[in-house]
Every structure is written in structure tokens, then in C-alpha cells.
Amino acid sequence: MHSFGYRANALLTFAVTILAFICAIASFSDKFSNQTPSAQIQILNINWFQKQPHGNDEVSLTLNVTADLQSLFTWNTKQVFAFVAAEYETSKNALNQVSLWDAIIPEKEHAKFWIQISNKYRFIDQGHNLRGKDFNLTLHWHVMPKTGKMFADKIVMSGYQLPNAYR
């Protein structure tokens, strides 16, 4: 510690190292939170169901999404990214996942919501396999922390079916 610069350098390095430790502990403290999210999705209406000029099926739905994701928020949460995906199986692919709607939830107060909306992103199949298809609607979420690892989880809701004929 021979001069100002030497001491300032030592102090700054130590301060930043300790800051890294604080952030690691803050991220670790997330493990102790109790998380109980819930969600429900209802299909209110199938607006139309057609075969596109290229031969792919397309569906337009009106969804009613009710969810309570408040317990996912901790002091170390920056935002939660939630999206609804339709999942089904075809002869060509074992799993097809089509994202229908997503939202960024920045605060705990906005995490308990009810929204009625037609699908934000188009539900287009790779082919024409959707007639009479059984599918699951899954609500996925990614919890993005202020420091640390992002983790994701989902709720699967099954029992939805598309009509047998084009409308």
C-alpha cells in the first residue's frame, strides 16, 4: 500500500469481489422461496380453421387465460416471461409446440391476471394434420432474476381438441 493508486486499486478489487459474493448469496437465497403458481386456460371460440395456399393448416382461437404467478416473484426477480404454447403430436414430428401468446410480467402486482384474447401469434401447422387433433395448452414461464440463474417451469393443461372439418 505504497501510494494512493495502490490502495485505491486494492480497495476496488476487494469491493468488486465481495459484490460478486453478495450477488451469489442473493441468488442462492431464491431456493428458499415457496412457489405455488396456478393457471387455467379456456378456449372460448374457434374463430376459423383453414388450409393455407401452401398446404398448411391454420387455426385462429380466442383464449381466456387466468393465472396467478405471484408466488414466483422474490426479491431477486427482475421479470417473469410467460407464454402459452399449443402442444400436439403428428406423424411427422413427435412434439409440435406452437406459441400462441406471451407476456412480460415486470412486477408482482401484475402477476395475477385474467385476459381474453385471440392468439397473438399464428397457429400454423407443418402440414395439414390439425383436423380433429387433440392438443395440450401449456403455460410456460421463465423467471428472470436480477442476479443468478434463470429457471423455467410449466403447467400442462390437456383435453383440448380441434374440430374435424375446416370452418
Partner: protein, 92 residues
């Protein structure tokens, strides 16, 4: 700063930063506010900077004892004459 002062300043810096970190984390966790934690820690870093970096008098209580000039004169440094004679010999 003298040697004792440097050691004191270094120890003080480490302890103050650790205390600032612990206090910041505890208060932040209790109030569930990440921002509070960061602000308290930043305040702690600034405080530590003010205490340990400048040359405060308390760090100069054991000044170095330089040799007295009258002592140094008793043992004069040898004169540097050998260099010029060596140069002459190499030129030959």
C-alpha cells in the same frame, strides 16, 4: 503513510468492506429490496474509501527514522573515478 499505517489501513479496508457487505445483505433480505442492498453496499464502499485511502495523521504515528545527516557524513561515498580510466584502456 508509514509501514504501521499501511498495515492498519489495509486491515481497516478489509474489515469495513466485509461489514458493509453483511449489513447490506441482511437489511436487503429483510426488506425484500435488492435496491436497498446495493445502495447500502455502495455507501459502505464510499465510506471505506474516505477512511482508508487519504493520508490521515493517524496512519503516520510511527514515522520512519531516517539516518541523521551528521552520521552520513562520517562515511562518505566512494568517488566514481574508475569508469574514465577503464574507457581509456578499452580504446587502445
Amino acid at each position: 503513510m508509514d509501514w504501521q499505517g499501511q498495515k492498519l489501513a489495509e486491515q481497516l479496508m478489509q474489515i469495513l468492506l466485509l461489514i458493509a457487505a453483511v449489513v447490506a445483505f441482511v437489511v436487503g433480505y429483510a426488506t425484500e429490496s435488492f435496491r436497498t442492498m446495493m445502495l447500502i453496499y455502495a455507501g459502505g464502499v464510499v465510506l471505506t474509501t474516505l477512511i482508508t485511502i487519504p493520508n490521515w495523521p493517524c496512519f503516520n504515528r510511527h514515522p520512519l527514522k531516517w539516518l541523521d545527516p551528521s552520521e552520513a557524513e562520517k562515511y562518505p561515498k566512494p568517488e566514481v573515478v574508475a569508469v574514465s580510466s577503464k574507457k581509456k584502456s578499452s580504446k587502445k
